[in-house]
């Protein structure tokens, strides 16, 4: 999985564009990037999942963890441009009701 980071300085928000498989093997890299942003005071983070072909339960737990950390700090983790496999897994688990989705 590749993570592309785009930062918008005026709004102090970031977008992480992911592609490929987001599973248990990739969560360490995601957490390192995500926690780095949080530590820098960035708590409005959009995660682009349009090019993610597979998302397992460990990756879902990582997104939930990120969402909670952002909300605890007055921000949010927003999911955007979902690929079909990602949309299906979010609907099956009803996590679509827990996340803000653009």
């Amino acid at each position: 999985m590749q993570i592309e980071h785009l930062h918008d300085a005026p709004s102090n928000s970031s977008t992480l564009m992911l592609n490929g498989r987001f599973d248990a093997h990739e969560t360490d890299a995601f957490r390192a990037t995500f926690d780095g942003l949080n530590d820098d005071g960035i708590h409005h983070i959009t995660v682009g999942l349009g090019d993610v072909e597979f998302l397992d339960s460990t990756a879902l737990a990582e997104l939930v963890r990120g969402m909670k950390r952002c909300r605890e700090n007055g921000g949010d983790l927003v999911l955007s441009s979902l690929s079909d496999p990602v949309r299906v897994i979010l609907e099956l688990t009803r996590l679509d009701a827990a996340f803000t989705i653009n």
Binding site: D56, S57, T58, A61, V64, L92, T93, R94, L95
Partner: protein, 384 residues
């Protein structure tokens, strides 16, 4: 020259030769002892002391000591000359040993330096071996504790199966590692079965510890909400486990169900779990979750799905280790193939469940098991 003086003159070379022979013999013995030290002891201090003692004999030194890292900082670079010799050697692992030898009788020469170098290598080898041994022992203790904790957590899964008239149950969970986060549990009387099937996110011991916690909460909910339905039980499990799950960035997808024989009704409350498949005749139907998994948001509000059971109906609940299992070509099993497998009614429930695991093994081939695998089947073969 007197006779006495002549006698002393002639015995002097013999005495000197004898002394040299004894000395050489002592050195050979010292060399032998030195060579055997690293093979008969793994205790660092003892080995190093013995090496230094034998090295001192070989070098005919008055003092031979191994410098600590603090001592080393104050030492000049290795040098020779006079009655002091210093040599420092380094292992590929980064371990270092610096030896200092002192001798009053005569200055150290080049052969002495080579000998000191050899002794330093032996001391370094002893230090390195002892460190590896200590690390291996520590790792073995951690591994043993880990294995015991995993076994204890996995034992939380019940070994008994409810025997309620008009039903047949199969339940099996195979963790991907020693223990996993998949779970099931039951409570039953002659008139009903309560059951729970779930999957804690993550793998290994952390997921397994949370799994045993969820089983405890489930068994408690079965007792406390005997007169209520699965939705109340699920809310109870949520209230017991939410904080721990949330604090540890975990969640559990979970289905709580009840079958009542008198009314032939099956009630289910599903928090984020998939796949949950109900098979009526030759038609499998996926039963969706009504709320997110437990641990994601506080205070879930699950809804119940209620089904009136007919003879031959089947409920199957799997963990994602079933549907997301890949074959050697990297293709996932998926829900469509799972649905096809679930239509097989040719075997008794027990054998059918085992055959599902066999088919999954065949499908996976050399791809192997990547995730915890759990299958729960509730058949209604004899419901009239």
């Amino acid at each position: 020259m007197t006779d006495r003086a002549l006698q002393a003159d002639s015995t002097a070379p013999l005495s000197s030769l004898t002394s040299a022979l004894v000395d050489a013999n002592d050195q050979i013995l010292a060399l032998y002892d030195l060579a055997t030290i690293t093979t008969d002891s793994l205790e660092e201090t003892q080995s190093v002391e013995r090496i230094l003692a034998q090295g001192k004999k070989l070098l005919r030194a008055d003092e031979l000591k191994l410098l600590s890292e603090d001592d080393e900082r104050d030492q000049p670079s290795p040098r020779m000359g006079g009655s002091t010799a210093v040599v420092s050697v380094e292992h590929t692992s980064g371990d270092r040993a610096t030896l200092v030898a002192r001798r009053e009788s005569k200055p150290f020469g080049t052969p002495d330096k080579k000998l000191l170098n050899a002794v330093a290598h032996m001391a370094l080898s002893a230090v390195h071996t002892a460190r590896l041994h200590t690390e291996a022992l520590q790792q073995a203790v951690v591994a043993r504790d880990h294995a015991m904790a995993s076994e204890l957590a996995q034992r939380s899964l019940p070994r008994w199966r409810p025997a309620v008239p008009g039903t047949a149950i199969f339940a099996r969970s195979d963790p991907a590692r020693t223990a996993g986060g998949d779970l099931f549990s039951f409570a039953a009387s002659e008139a009903h079965i309560d059951f729970v099937v779930g999957d804690v996110s993550g793998k290994g011991l952390p997921a397994a510890m949370m799994m045993s916690n969820v089983i405890m909460a489930s068994n408690n909910a079965f007792q406390r909400h005997r007169d209520d339905g699965p939705a109340a039980m699920l809310k109870s499990i949520d209230s017991w486990t939410y904080d721990t799950l949330s604090e540890n960035a975990l969640f559990v997808t979970i289905v709580v169900g009840r079958y009542e024989t008198a009314t032939r009704t099956l009630s289910l409350a599903n928090a984020g779990h998939s796949p949950v498949v109900f098979v009526h005749e030759d038609s499998p139907t996926s039963l969706p979750a009504s709320c997110p998994p437990v641990g994601v948001l506080p205070g879930i509000e699950p809804e119940e799905t209620i089904i009136t059971i007919e003879p031959g109906d089947r409920l199957a609940i799997c963990s994602d280790g079933f549907t997301e299992q890949e074959n050697e070509a990297g293709e996932m099993l998926g829900e469509q193939l799972l649905d096809e497998w679930l239509l097989d009614r040719t075997l008794p429930t027990d054998q059918f469940g085992e055959s599902m695991f066999s088919q999954l093994e065949t499908f996976a081939g050399r791809a192997g098991q990547a995730d915890d695998r759990t299958l729960f089947v509730l058949d209604f073969p004899g419901t009239a």
